[in-house]
Each structure stands twice: as C-alpha cells, then as structure tokens.
C-alpha cells in the first residue's frame, strides 16, 4: 500500500514562526547552510535549537556550576554523569523531567518519563538499579489534582515495576502553583565497571550506524510544528500523538544492549529521546568529530506514509542508535534476535562532519552536525528581581495568633500531604528488587548495598519551591544542603549530585532572575559542600495561563558509605535513649509549613543558611555515626523541630516510641516548635555515648543540645514557656493516614 509521496510544505515566515524559531535564528540557519533550509532541515534545526535540546536560555548560567572533583569520571555533556565509587565500580545517574506530557496524560506521561531516564543510564554501559521520583501537584482537595497524582504514581509504578528497576525513594509536595502544571522528575542510577563506560560518540569512517528497538511512529512530534494548513486529507492521522510506553520492550532493550556492550564491538551508543533520530545522530557525530549519513527508507516504521520530517522528529519510545565496528553487524543482529528485537543498519559514519539524511537516493537534509548539536544560540536573557518580592519578604510574622492546642497543630502538620507518610505511594513501587535496598523508603535517604563492594550508596531527592519563590538564592543553596544533609543522616558522605531545574517562561525577566539566583545558590552550596554537579535537566515554560510554578530545583544527591554497617535510619530505636540536636534554632517562620498549614500564609523570608555551619553539622553527624554511637539520625526540614522529633517517634509500621524533652532558650514557642532553621540534625544515642557525642560535636565546632529522652506513650516538647503534648498514637495516626485522608473522595474521574 503505497501512498503518494507528499510534497513538503514550502518554508515561509509563518512556517518558521510555527517552529518556534526567531528571525535571527532563521538567518543564522540560512548562514550555516549558505542557502534556505528545506522543510525537513527546518524541522531538524527547530528541535535541536529548541530550549529543551539546546539549553539556549540556561546554558550561560549552568556553566557556573562546579562540575569537577576527584571522583567525577564524567560530568555534564554525556547522557548521564559518572562517579567513581571505588572497588572498580562507577555510579551512573541522572534526573529528568516529564512535566508537560504528564499533565496531558498522567499515566503515560509519567511512564514514558521513567523509560526515557532509564535509557540514559544503560546507554552509558550501566545496569540501572534504582529510580527515585520527585513530584509536585496542586492540592489534593481538587479532583483534577487527585486524578493527576493517582495517574502519575500509577504510571511510574506501571513502567518501573514491569521494566524491573525498583523505585526506592523520592519526594512529593503539594501547592496551588502546581495545579495547572504538575512536576514529574525521575532519577535513575545504574552501576557500571569504572573502566568500561560507553559514550555517545560516532567514530571510525564507514562504521555502520544501527537502529535498534521499537518501530517509529508519529509519536510526540511537536504540536506547534505541525501547522495544519500544510497538510492534506490525511492530517487527522498526522496529529501529534501521546507516546505510550512499552516497559516490556525496554526490558529487552536493556538486556540486549548490555549484552552487546560485552562484545567489545560498540563504538558509540545513544538512546533516542527528545528529537529522536535527529538528536541521537547529530550529537553522536558532533561529539565524535565525524559525520553520519542515514537512509530513512531503512528505518523500521509502524505507520504508513510518514514523510522524512516525521521520521526524523518522531519521539517514539524504546529506540537506540548504535555505532559498531565494521564487520560486527551480524553479531549485533544475533544478539538482538535473541531478545526478539530488530537491529537494522540505517547508515554509516562519514568523515565530512555532516548529518546527511537520504530518503532512498534523494538527499532530504544535509547539515553540519556540530552546528546542530552545539551551534544553537546561547542567550543571556534579561533578568530582573521582581518588585513584589519585597512585599512578600517583609511580611510581619512577629505577632502570629497561637493555636488553641499546640499538639493539635503538630497533628495537623503531620497530616498535611506534603509532610504525611508517603507509604501509599512507595508501596505501589517495587522497591526491593535486586536485593540492594537495606534502608527502605521512608527514612531521610534510601541506602543500597552493592554486591562486590563493602559499602553502599545513599540517595535523596530534595527541593523546596516555596523557599526558592521567597528567596531564590537561599532556596537554591538549601536544595543542595538539604539533599546532602539527608544523605549524611543515612551515614553516607555526599559526593555528587544531579539536578532538574523546573521554572516558568524564561523570556520573562523575573523568571530568568529566579533561575539565575537559584543556580548561583546551588553553585555556592556545591562548592562549600564538595559535591560537584554531574548533569541534569532544565524544564522551562512551566506555566498555566501566565502563572508560573514556584521556581523548583530538584537535587538528587549521591552519597557513599564506606561500610554498610554505617547505614542509619531516622527512627528512635527504643526507650531510654537520649536525643540531641546538632545545630541551632532561630526565629525563622518565613516560608514554613507551619505558616502555610496553620495560618494559610506563604510569605516571609525563608530560613537563612550558613554553609560553613552546614558543612560542620553534617561532618559531625557522619563522624558520630562512624564512631558507632548513633542510634538514629534525622534532619529537621519541613515542619521544623517538632515534626522532625515526631517523625523519629513514628515508624512506617509498628509501635511508635514516645519522647519527652525541652528546647532550652528564649525563642517564642511557635519558632521553637516549627521554625525551619537549617543545618540541624537530631541524633539519638544510648546514655553511655552521650559524652562521646558531645566531645565530637565540640571538635567540629557544632552546637549540640540535649533535648530529652525517648520512651513512653506521649510526645511532650516544652519551649518558650509553652508545652506541646500529644499521644504518640494520635500523632502516628495523623501522619500515617494523612495522604489517604487528603486524597479521599477524590477518585471521581479526571476532574475535568
């Protein structure tokens, strides 16, 4: 059944505009080619020079982040970062967003997000061993948000479980600004041999370029680029479509690719993610300093009548492009046949630096690969501090009406969906596969042991959008510091991070200012804490009807444990232990969860952060853990000291442990209980280790305050002349059922 070949539309100024290219960008393209681009070439440029692929608005800022360190084997620039974790092993990890697709179709959007980030990891030669998800939604009281939340979690579960990569942790928060634009960021980590990392480079003249995996359909071709008037009677069929994930095929692809890598025949390999065949081919050529010639008639297709433009721009899932040594074609085919997958030679490596695309005999595109991959313009967009920030920051928080019952206020905080137990989420995820998870989700960081390594890894994802909204520089620092602190509480040394920067429209100066400030804050924190950035992802245009989300950087922190016996959890281990606070509490209620949940206000200045203090507190915590005197370690974050203490009392399952204590000092009670001052960690120790802990803290120059004792059935914290009291069982109930209670009555439909 052959269709008449469709004439390609003419490239008019309207068509250029519909591709999201400015006049200057079009002129630059014209200059590069020394002629006007064809329609296919225009499409190729438009995706490669899109914000998503080129980082044109963010690049100048990202370049300021520290990316080097003794453990870094691969920083930003490849599909994922690589960190030397000793004993011949490397950790390969990266985080990526799938926000917009998840809003359109939550299940498939989230599922394909998982599939995409997993490919980035095994592309590097690593076996993916875990996932973490960072999610943001509007309040669960709205049916639509409940629908998105349920669909996204089910989609992550549906894909991750089936593909066989356990989802071992993550985080989720709820706020109004995410109602029209939820965030779905997924981190994947894999383990590779440190001496056998693969890169996405095309080398060796004449080497075959092989397409492996699923067939190509019209999935995900960018809507804006499909101006309808240029199409004929088949345009309904050409509509951009939602991508559907196939975790089964991805599982086969993982196994087949890892098996292929064992043969020593692979020269370069890259997944087909955003911009599919276009991006993978020109990036491999550009990085390898070579060219690639493709014949599109050989590309396996799922749909009829696809034009070159569509084949090049399709974002069909579960596909890879591999360059192997000449002569290895049969070996490749045999391995993929074993896994029931197609492997087709679609082109070869050339020496002329061009991405040349043929449809049979006809050349449909011919572009210098480097111009596509690295030649996109970089913008230093105007950035202005918004005037409204002063009003927010200067909010008077000195005279808050105290709640009738401090214990009830604590219960309300524990039940608020952002703080409540997330078991309802993670029990939908296989989080134990591969027998590595020795600290299950629920504690500050997940801990994985590694077979063939005496130690292990700790991982945590963090990012407080409200802090960044109220002070992006401080918020950026805190995102890094808190992620590192979580990892330190688990007994691991933070060594490197990946990040996903979720922001609004970068052409608005206030958004660009938020972006620049957050990145500046992150960079300062990274340098202070010795945790370089190994890569990440930027997601811009997160807005609904001109209203941007909170600036939301998500930091995925990797920590290294020398020995797994150091793995530590946040829960009190029984009665009679002493509870200490490392660090200090200040009157900092701005941007706090208390202010939001109890007073319905989101304003003030977020807590300040002293990086030297942060570093010392974390070092002291790790030293105490290594010295063997720590029974539990938990950082204080959203909800402050009272929430952190209560969280330590309440295990995910089983009997809670009570606590009685006092925070000495002169703070007013709300600040003592709920201020979110940074650089604080709660440690519980046996009484006989109290002296050792106090000495250690002194050595590190860190304030160390005895708060109280574990045990009993009640939770009592006194401070500032007030007493906060509650039954631990009541607090446990509030915390454990919070999420379900908020989501109840909310399962009706799509809420549309």
């Amino acid at each position: 059944m052959s269709r008449p070949v469709l004439a390609e539309p003419r490239v008019t100024p309207e068509v250029v505009a519909a591709h999201g290219l400015t006049e200057e960008e079009y002129a630059a393209i014209h200059g590069i080619l020394a002629r006007p681009p064809t329609y296919t070439e225009l499409g190729i440029f438009s995706v490669m020079w899109s914000e998503h692929c080129s980082y044109k608005s963010s690049r100048v800022h990202l370049q300021t982040l520290p990316t080097e360190g003794p453990r870094i084997l691969q920083g930003p620039g490849e599909n994922a970062g690589v960190v030397d974790i000793g004993h011949g092993l490397a950790a390969v990890f990266k985080i990526e967003s799938h926000n917009h697709p998840s809003f359109i179709e939550p299940y498939q959007g989230a599922a394909t997000g998982v599939g995409g980030i997993i490919r980035d990891i095994f592309t590097m030669g690593a076996r993916p061993i875990c996932l973490l998800d960072s999610l943001r939604f509007g309040p669960l009281t709205e049916a639509k948000n409940g629908y998105l939340f349920g669909g996204v979690v089910a989609g992550i579960a549906g894909y991750g479980n089936a593909v066989g990569v356990p989802t071992v942790g993550g985080e989720v928060a709820f706020a109004e600004c995410y109602a029209g634009n939820p965030l779905v960021n997924v981190l994947c980590l894999g383990i590779a041999r440190a001496d056998r990392i693969f890169t996405a480079r095309a080398g060796g003249l004449g080497n075959p370029v092989i397409y492996v995996g699923a067939k190509t359909g019209r999935d995900g071709i960018h809507g804006a680029t499909m101006a309808s008037e240029t199409f004929d009677e088949t345009s309904e069929e050409r509509r951009p479509t939602v991508q559907v994930g196939d975790p089964f095929r991805e599982k086969l692809l993982i196994e087949a690719c890892l098996e292929l890598m064992e043969t020593g025949e692979v020269v370069g390999i890259q997944d087909m993610g955003a911009a599919g065949l276009t991006c993978s081919s020109c990036e491999m050529a550009s990085r390898g300093g070579t060219g690639i010639e493709l014949d599109l008639t050989r590309v396996p297709r799922r749909e009829e009548g696809m034009i070159p433009y569509e084949v090049m721009l399709s974002e069909s899932q579960e596909r890879m492009l591999v360059v192997v040594r000449r002569g290895a074609e049969e070996a490749v085919r045999a391995i993929f046949a074993k896994w029931d997958l197609d492997a087709v030679v679609v082109g070869h490596v050339t020496g002329d630096g061009m991405l040349r695309v043929l449809e049979g005999e006809k050349v449909v595109a011919e572009i210098p690969a480097r111009a596509l991959a690295e030649g996109a313009p970089a913008y230093r967009r105007p950035a202005t501090r918004p005037g409204w920030l002063d009003v927010l920051q200067k909010a008077d928080l000195s005279d808050l009406p105290p709640p009738a019952d401090w214990g009830a206020a604590l219960a309300a905080l524990l039940a608020s969906p952002t703080i409540a137990c997330k078991r309802d989420i993670w029990r939908q995820y296989d989080h134990m596969l591969y027998l590595n998870t020795i600290v299950l989700p629920g504690s500050d960081a997940v801990v994985l042991r590694l077979k063939g390594h005496p130690g292990g890894l700790a991982l945590a994802a963090d990012g407080n959008g409200r802090y960044c909204f109220l002070d992006p520089y401080v918020g950026g620092m805190i995102a890094v510091a808190e992620a590192a602190r979580n990892v330190s509480c688990a007994g691991a040394e933070p060594v490197a991070l990946t990040n996903c920067l979720n922001f609004g429209d970068p052409t608005r100066p206030e958004i660009m200012w938020q972006f620049a400030e957050v990145v500046r804050g992150m960079g300062d924190a990274c340098r202070a804490l010795g945790t370089p950035v190994t890569g990440g992802n930027v997601s811009l245009y997160n807005e609904m009807l001109g209203r941007a989300i909170f600036p939301t950087p998500i930091v995925g922190m990797l920590g290294l444990l020398e020995h797994i016996r150091h793995a530590t959890t946040q829960w009190f281990k029984g009665a009679g232990d002493l509870v200490y606070l490392l660090g200090e509490t200040h009157d900092e209620l701005g941007g706090s969860e208390y202010l939001k949940v109890v007073h319905g206000r989101e304003e003030g200045r977020p807590p300040q952060l002293d990086l030297a203090r942060e570093r010392a507190v974390q070092a002291a915590c790790r030293a105490a853990i290594r010295a063997g005197c720590v029974r539990s370690a938990h950082d204080t974050s959203e909800g402050g000291l009272a929430v952190a203490l209560a969280e330590s009392c309440i295990p995910v399952e089983g009997e809670p442990v009570g606590f009685t204590g006092t925070l000495p000092g002169v703070l007013r009670p709300e600040a003592a209980f709920f201020a979110e001052s940074q650089s604080r960690i709660l440690l519980s120790v046996r009484p006989e280790h109290a002296g050792a802990l106090e000495a250690l803290a002194r050595d590190h120059g860190v304030p160390c305050t005895l708060l109280g004792t574990t045990g009993g059935r009640t939770f009592t914290l006194t401070a500032g002349g007030a007493s906060l009291q509650a039954e631990v069982a009541v607090l446990a109930e509030a915390w454990r059922r919070g999420l379900a209670a908020a989501a109840a009555g909310n399962r009706d439909g799509r809420g549309a």
Binding site: D246, W339, Q428, Y429, L433, Y434, L435, I438, E653
Partner: protein, 230 residues
Amino acid sequence: MRFGILVFPGSWSHQDFRHALADVMGFQAQEVWHKETSVTGHDCLILPGGFAHGDYLRAGAIARFSPVMSEVVRFAERGGLVLGSCNGFQILCEAGLLPGALLRNASLQYRCQWVHLRVESTATPFTAALGPGQVLRMPISHGEGRYYADPEALRRLNGEGRITFRYCAPDGAPSAEANPNGSSENIAGVCNARGNVLGLMPHPERAAESLLGSVDGRLLFEGFLARASR
C-alpha cells in the same frame, strides 16, 4: 542440589534467586533461557518473578507457551521439584500445573510490602521441615496476586492439604487486614497433588539475608535440602 532458574523475556527476579541460592546459601544455580528444550541436570526448577512478555493479556498467559515449558511439565510429572514465585506462580497456574488463577489485586494497585505467612501444610518438600502454623515473614511485590479458585476446587485443596501458605497477622491469624490482595481464603501459596510443585506470590529470595530484614525465605530451601543430603 542443583537449581535451574528459568528466564523468560521480562523476568526480573532470576538474578536475585541466583544470588540467594548460590551466593548466600551456597547451592549450584544456573539460569535456563526460556527457549531451551531441555532441563536435564537440575534437581529443582525455579520460575522467578517479573513480567514475562510484559504480562500483557494476562500474567503468565504467554510465558506458559515458551518452548521450555513443555519440559517443565514433563519434569514435574516425573516428580521433579518446581517452585514458582510471583510471576512464576502465575505461569504455573496458566500452564495448568497448579489449580486456580491470579487476578488483579482487589485494591487495583500494585503492592510491594512485607507480609506474614502462616505455614498451612507441610505436604510439600519445600515446607516439610517447617511446623504447621509457623509464621514466616517475606516481601510481596505484585499487581495480580489475588488467588482465585472456584468453590469446588477450594474444597478439594483444603481437603487434600494443598494450601501451603496463608497471609496472616504477625500472630498467625489469617485476618482480612492481613490479606494484601484479596485472595480467596487469604491463600498465598498452593501445591499440586503430589506436592512437588509449589507456587506462592511472596518472594523467598528477598528474605534470605538478615541485612534485608528476614532469613525466613531460606527455610523453604534449606529444610528439604538438609533431608535430601542425608
């Protein structure tokens, strides 16, 4: 004792079984690709967890036609030991080696969590060394684990002592709250009439090291092996 661990496209617990059986317990364990047509050289076959063929259509429905499966049936008929966990249990039911079927969890959600199991019957070599009523702790991880058999079949299974495990509370009571997926009569595992084929939804391989929270999974293997080697 030599274990053969079947690998279907989409299996994912085979590595874990190999680790538990070989690295932790010290047995011989070898993977068997689903396209193989012989299973000789193995004393016990393991059908591991995962999503064979994506679990598309029904869990286990396509895998049961894999070339190796006719050999598994013959092996079982000759009295060879076969254990299916999770997806492996689903495949054994689809293949007719075990009665009943596994339906979507009553919650309609996937469940990965620790559960308690009460040993109901010691009529299979896998539980022969355990005491009836003994409570084990192991993880589950599945979306389709709701055991169903028609009333007549259930009567027979009960009568013949072929219900091997029931989900229970830590004290051994098979309560509704302890049933993670809505299985009939809290059934977590059943065996065939001869007792040499066992299927269970929980993952014994995930409970083989104290570092991971339980070593109860080892009891299924170490018990009968101790006897066999005597």
